[in-house]
């Protein structure tokens, strides 16, 4: 029964009562609606903020401050003509938007959306006499679920580009798949640092460990994994400055060039939904999720609001910061060149996250074995520097060899 609520009994082997099932159904509905509304507001937020940064007004006609602009756009897209190109692969062309949309929704399921994590309560709230968490699912694989989902998301983009049967979408799709597969490695490795420090895979468990700012994983893992995760997540989302997938100046519109009407809207929705989900994931992993901001024993408490709902408010505020950062990136940073993108991913982020992971692991082993922490850190750092030096030397030699062979770069 309790297994149903926590999704640790996916086969429904235990006795199933109606109340837990109803709670799960309500949660599914809630997460679905919250996801859609958040995406709608995110599109508006992005347009409004970017307009402000570019000294424009932005959407201001539909609703107060143009807040209903996305709704208006959605309705407009609904009534547009739906085109399927003559040379397309019809089945895949129809399937692709859903392959992009469904993972975007699924990833939202494991984010703790609120709950009281103070005083060791572990985010549990009581609903109709049942203890539960304010998150749709807490699967045993925890954050790996998010990784699995984000690795599926690439199919939507790839198949959309390929099935369109035209050049530019195909180029966009090939770029997208290479980029997403490359940066997933860095994403996973920097996630490894968080898992190493937290000692658990469950998102609720990870949030539970981060009770005060000193325990937030951004501090506990030493800042570097966070930076790598943020960069890799931006690349994974295909957002600027990594939006080579749909570089308008080069590829018309990238993988979705041939899409129109509601199918285009689905891609659009998935993209913004992924941005919201990824921001929430960053907050969950590195910034304590729904935990209030507290330094030492002093907690910043919002008065008159129950702690469980306060968690949602804190999460919202933290997520807003990252959504703003993403918009900020888009407004200020120029797009990467393709070779720069690959160099950054493979030569800096992946070795960097791997090295930092080794450093954290060595410190942990040292703590368990009772070695001198400073000495362990110094020795590990030395080994890593020597390793990176060898890597650089190897790259240099290979470049010299290629130049000798007559290749020019």
């Amino acid at each position: 029964m309790i297994g149903v609520i926590f999704a640790i009994d996916p086969m429904l082997e235990g006795n199933v009562l109606w109340t837990p099932l109803l709670i799960v159904l309500v949660k599914v509905l809630l997460v679905f609606v919250v996801g859609l509304v958040a995406t709608m507001l995110m599109v508006w937020f992005e347009r409004k903020v970017i307009a402000g940064m570019q000294n424009r007004v932005g959407p201001n006609k539909a609703g107060p401050w143009g807040i209903l602009q996305t709704l208006a756009d959605g309705i407009k897209l609904f009534f547009k003509e739906d085109l399927i190109p003559e040379r397309s692969d019809r089945f895949m062309f129809r399937l692709a938007p859903y392959l992009a949309l469904v993972p975007a929704f699924l990833a939202f399921a494991i984010i703790p959306l609120g709950g009281d994590f103070r005083d060791g309560k572990g985010g549990l709230v009581t609903l109709f006499g049942h203890q539960t968490r304010l998150q749709l699912a807490d699967p045993p694989v925890g954050v790996l679920f998010a990784l699995a989902i984000s690795s599926i998301a690439v199919y939507g983009i790839m198949l959309a580009g390929w099935s369109s049967g035209s050049k530019y979408p195909l180029l966009g799709a090939v770029r997208a798949s290479a980029q997403m597969v490359s940066y997933e490695a860095a994403l996973g490795l920097s996630l490894g640092a968080v898992l190493l420090v937290s000692g658990t895979l469950s998102t609720a468990g990870i949030v539970n460990m981060q009770s005060s700012i000193g325990n937030w994983n951004i501090v506990a893992t030493g800042f570097v994994p966070f930076v790598i995760f943020l960069i890799a997540a931006t690349a994974e989302l295909n957002r600027p400055p990594f939006d080579l997938v749909e570089a308008e100046q080069e590829l018309v519109g990238g993988f979705n060039t041939e899409y129109s009407s509601i199918r285009f809207a689905l891609f659009f929705l998935a993209e913004f939904m992924n941005t919201v989900t990824m921001s929430a994931l960053i907050v969950t992993l590195f910034f304590g999720g729904p935990q209030p901001i507290s330094i030492g024993n002093t907690t910043l408490d919002i008065p008159f609001i129950p702690n469980a709902i306060e968690g949602t408010i804190w999460l919202l505020l933290k997520v807003l910061v990252f959504l703003y950062i993403y918009v900020w990136f888009r407004a200020t940073l120029p797009r990467f060149r393709y070779d720069q993108l690959m160099d950054l991913g493979w030569k800096i982020l992946i070795p960097g996250s791997l090295g930092w992971f080794m450093l954290l692991a060595a410190q942990r082993v040292g703590r368990d074995a009772g070695w001198d922490q400073i000495l362990v850190t110094l020795v590990t750092a030395l080994v890593l520097i020597v390793g990176y030096g060898l890597l650089l030397a190897a790259q240099h030699v290979s470049r010299v060899n290629r130049e000798k062979d007559g290749a020019s770069f």
């Binding site: 694989v141 925890g142 699995a148 090939v174 798949s177 996973g188 468990g205 062979d405």
Partner: protein, 179 residues
Amino acid sequence: MELFVFVVAAAMVLVGALGVVTRSNPVHAAMSLVLTLFGIAVMFVAHNAHFLAAVQVIVYAGAIVVLFLFVIMLLGVDRAEDLSVEPITNQRPLAAIIGVGISAIVIAAIVSSRAGLGASGEGVDKTTLESPDANIRQLARVIFSDNVFAFEITSVLLLVAVIGTVVMARKTKSVGTGK
């Protein structure tokens, strides 16, 4: 419930596997392979091997098949193949013989070890509310303590494969001048 899940997952696996061999379009075949891999992931979940299910999706569906698709798209072999022309003569009868032979071996192995099939080993540590990571802990302990040598050897094997690919893909000097 367990039977129902098994039937659905098995149907996914079989339909996908048949799709891989019967679809003439390579991209469709690759997508059928994804269906098969998902079916296997569902089976893993049904056996409480959650971690394996996640890794199945991340590694196979998320990376390997994406790489297949990438190569298919990059090389432009994404049109339907003409299956009436045989690149290797006699491959069909040979394939049929090998297929029947392998099925016979598998069936023979199952039949001969019928007595042991009902027995269950230690089993996996089930995930509980108190220890949500029990399954992964157990797996990690088995891999990194009891079978650490096999694990390291496998990783060396993978490394050798990667280096071998790089060496083979590298252009030799005479070709590398690109004239």
